[in-house]
């Protein structure tokens, strides 16, 4: 019925295929697949490079224009530093020369505004935000926020966070416990930055662990957000059942030097989790709480190695000079190299009172201990 006329040169191939064993038939099929696959691969390389180069060329033309406009019309605006941002009239007409009807151009402009905003503070930042809103660039982010793709939602949340755009708590809070890690993280950052009520509320509800990377991002957001009410982080140290939240709050307590949080941190010394205990000792040392030294020395002998090292470091950081004998004994009698090194470092940090002890140890120490002492005393060696 369908008598397809094949080219004559294909006939021997078809005949070979028809009468060949199964293995050869499979091989012939895969020859075609491999040849077509290779050609498709070349095509996709060509296409990708072409599109990429075209995008680069466009941006190479556009970006200098955007930068110049932002510098001329916003950053060097005569009223930029004297008049409140909401009263400054920006010359938006100048931006109309950009092809803002194109999505890629709007996206490039948004990225540059965010870039400049990261590097300025105060009124300048507010002016850039005003420009972003007046050019209605936020509409793209709003659309992304409604998208079903998590990636777009993350992009939108990041944009809102960077531009300080207010978003309702009810929109963000559910996302802070999203199953998607990236979305969850972006929502937490946005919540801290944008929530007008309780920016740290998600610490109460967070069930997933805060990863090391999350903590880096959160610390940056918290420390760069203006007008944020920093709470007493002791609240989560005491009540949170999420160990990563407690650990992160200990770092925040150090960062903000929250001495009122010390009692909560001391209570944490009784925790069964020795990693958290080590974090708590580290925190107390960095806060330089002298009252805690006796407690640390009293629990020392029952601690695992990394907690013992933290205790020795803490005594060095506090540097009250009250536990020189303890440090000396540890340095002389500990069998662990790292403990002796930590004890020696702490002795050197207490040298305002331990000078004589150090000299005495230098004169009587074993060759290895002498080397440790010299190591700790050498200003060229940091660790």
């Amino acid at each position: 019925m369908f008598d397809i006329q094949l080219p004559a040169f294909l006939e021997p191939v078809i005949n070979t295929f028809r009468y060949a064993p199964l293995v050869i038939q499979l091989a012939m099929i895969f020859i075609v697949i491999a040849a077509v696959g290779t050609l498709l691969a070349y095509f996709s390389i060509l296409r990708n490079r072409y599109l990429g180069n075209r995008r680069d060329k466009r941006l190479a033309k556009l970006l200098p224009k955007i930068d110049n406009l932002i510098i001329d019309e916003v950053l060097t605006h005569p009223e930029a530093e004297t008049v409140p941002a909401d009263q400054v009239v920006l010359n938006l007409d100048a931006f109309q020369e950009l092809p803002l009807d194109k999505k890629w151009a709007r996206s490039a402009l948004t990225e540059r505004i965010i870039h400049f905003r990261r590097n300025v503070r105060g009124n300048m930042g507010l002016l850039l935000r005003s420009l972003y809103m007046q050019l209605e660039l936020d509409k793209d982010a709003m659309k992304k926020m409604k998208s079903g793709h998590w990636e777009k939602k993350v992009q939108a949340l990041t944009e809102f966070t960077n531009m300080d755009m207010s978003v309702a708590d009810v929109t963000i809070l559910p996302l802070t416990n999203s199953r998607n890690r990236e979305l969850r993280a972006a929502a937490r950052h946005a919540y801290i930055k944008l929530s007008k009520n309780e920016p740290f509320k998600f610490f109460d509800v967070v069930t997933e662990p805060l990863l090391m990377w999350d903590q880096v991002e959160l610390l940056r957001i918290i420390s760069t957000t203006e007008d944020i009410a920093i709470p007493n982080f002791a609240r989560w140290v005491t009540y949170s059942s999420n160990k990563s939240v407690v650990s992160f709050c200990l770092k925040l307590i150090v960062h903000y030097n929250q001495l009122p949080a010390v009692p909560a941190v001391i209570k944490l010394l009784d925790t069964k989790d020795h990693y958290l205990r080590a974090d708590a000792i580290n925190c107390l040392g960095k806060l330089q709480v002298p009252d805690v030294e006796d407690k640390l020395v009293s629990i020392y002998s029952t601690q695992p190695l990394h907690c013992q090292i933290e205790i020795l470091k803490a005594i060095g950081r506090i540097s009250s000079g009250r536990h020189i004998d303890f440090l000396k004994l540890e340095f002389l009698h500990s069998t662990d190299f790292d403990l002796r090194k930590s004890a020696a470092k702490s002795l050197v940090k207490n040298d305002w009172i331990a000078k004589q002890v150090i000299e005495e140890l230098m004169a009587t120490a074993t060759p290895e201990n002498l080397r440790i002492l010299k190591h700790c005393m050498n200003p060229l060696i940091k660790y």
Binding site: I31, T38, N48, L211, M212, F337
Partner: protein, 478 residues
């Protein structure tokens, strides 16, 4: 007699058929997994601001270990390259492994090094450390130089560095490698972003530096090598890293983190005894032991790979040096299989025992032997007139085109994500290489591998060979 030979021939043919089929299937799966892994990486990459870490007080410290043996020609620019890395908390430990040239003198003069009494703790036994140096110039405060007695292996030198390392993670590299300035930021990210597992090692893509341009140890222009032998290696590296390692990484089955660049968990590496100085494949051997340690101690571990090129290394440009390198690698593989054979198909070692080890055994270790036996059988059959030539040629064409396709796909994955190389011609140049690889390069690899196995079986003495480098100090290509 002829009946027995016929039966044996049929068994051999069937075995080879199954062997080939499984290998093709594995590569097809790797191609799919690697695409998913690369896409996952690029997605994450676009969402995260990596430079946050470069100013964060929460950045984990990293020690860079760079062993050097007679690297006088390139040592200064290479150390300068390491000093320019973008990371807030790192130290560089350069281990001069008893160089007989002026490596040590150059370092002392250039970086104003002085001997210091350093508290060096021998956790892993190595050849004696003679002296330890620190710079008096604050600009080089992160640099430490260990001068030790030659240990006749890279492993011994790196172990000395591990003993001295301050931080919980160390990056092992070769001092002749040129690193991307964001290498440390990139390598630590998988550790910091892992949700449930402990990341014990992270690797990244390596590339060939031979025709690239460098200025003061910084890569300024990336090019595929002009010489054929290094270009073959470039294609092989792309296939191995972007397709192979990324594919394995997707299912957490990475068999090896290259000795050229890898980040390791110091605690695990130290507890399992560090690098084995008697091994010729010390990088793969360490990772195998780290996995074994993790299994034995019920550590839920992960090994991750990054598709981005973070390291450029000078590839052997002459057959003599290439032969030496590949013979050593093959010997290292044979050693590894022999010394850890109890892990083979052992469910106690999870994916390591049930996937990685069998794959390495059948498709890495046995592959040259299978190919060699295939050639012998082919010749015998040809001489006795027992070959159906049209079918034989069709099968050969199939294998040839399939290998070209797999290599081209790895170039595509690489190009889709990173668009390396400046001009179209350079990419075209690279794409043509797989057509020759099968005919010229691959037979060499088989030959050198067999040589390595022979040396392993006969226990021939061999040392950490000198690569006879040309150096990257200034722009090489005009």
């Amino acid at each position: 007699m002829s009946g027995i030979l016929e039966i044996l021939g049929k068994i051999y043919q069937s075995a080879i058929f199954v062997y080939g089929l499984v290998l093709l299937l594995v590569y097809a799966l790797l191609a799919i997994f690697s695409r998913l892994a690369v896409r996952q990486y690029t997605r994450k990459n676009s969402l995260h601001q990596r430079d946050l870490l470069s100013s964060s007080p929460l950045a984990p410290g990293i020690t860079i270990l760079a062993p050097a043996f007679n690297e006088g020609m390139t040592i200064i620019s290479n150390v300068r390259s390491l000093l320019t890395l973008n990371y807030p908390r790192y130290e560089i430990v350069l281990i001069n492994d008893g160089s007989t040239d002026n490596t040590m003198e150059q370092l002392i003069t250039e970086f104003k090094m002085v001997e210091v009494a350093y508290a060096y703790n021998v956790k892993i036994r190595t050849q004696p450390v003679r002296k330890i140096f620190k710079s008096t110039d604050p600009a080089y405060a992160s640099l430490i130089v260990i001068d030790k007695v030659n240990g006749k292996s890279k492993a011994d030198a790196v172990n000395a560095g591990i003993n001295l390392a301050t931080f919980n993670y160390f990056v092992c590299t070769d001092v002749d490698c040129i690193l991307d300035k964001d290498t440390l930021l990139e390598l630590i990210l998988p550790v910091m972003q892992e949700e449930n597992k402990r990341v014990i090692a992270v690797g990244a893509t390596l590339r060939i530096a031979n025709s690239c341009e460098f200025d003061e140890g910084v890569m300024t222009r990336m090019r595929p090598p002009r010489q054929l032998l290094p270009r073959f290696q470039e294609v092989e590296y792309i296939r191995s890293f972007v397709l192979g390692k990324m594919g394995w990484s997707y299912i957490n089955c990475v068999p090896n983190v290259s000795g050229g660049l890898g980040l390791f968990d110091k605690e695990v590496a130290t507890r399992c005894g560090g690098y084995d100085h008697s091994s010729f494949g010390e990088d793969m051997e360490l990772l195998t032991r780290m996995c074994r340690y993790a299994h034995d101690n019920e550590i839920d571990y992960a090994i991750r790979y990054i598709p981005k090129t973070l390291c450029w290394t000078e590839a052997p440009a002459t057959l003599k040096i290439f032969n030496r390198q590949r013979t050593r690698w093959a010997r290292g593989l044979a050693q590894l299989m022999y010394s850890h054979f109890h892990m083979f198909m052992n469910p106690r070692y999870g994916k390591m025992g049930l996937i990685i080890f069998p794959f390495n055994f059948f498709f890495e270790l046995l592959a040259p032997l299978v190919e060699f036996s295939g050639i012998i059988v082919y010749i015998v059959l040809a001489v006795t007139g027992n070959i159906n030539w049209p079918y034989a040629l069709l099968l050969l064409l199939f294998v040839y085109l399939y290998s070209v396709m797999i290599t081209t796909i790895s170039i595509v994955w690489d190009q889709l994500s990173f668009r390396y190389y400046k001009s179209w011609w350079e990419v075209a140049y690279l794409c043509m290489t797989p057509f020759m690889e099968f005919l010229i390069y691959h037979p060499l690899i088989v030959l050198y591998s067999l040589r390595g196995y022979y040396y392993f079986l006969t226990g021939k003495k061999s040392t950490w060979g000198n690569m006879q480098r040309q150096g990257f100090g200034k722009k090489k290509i005009k």
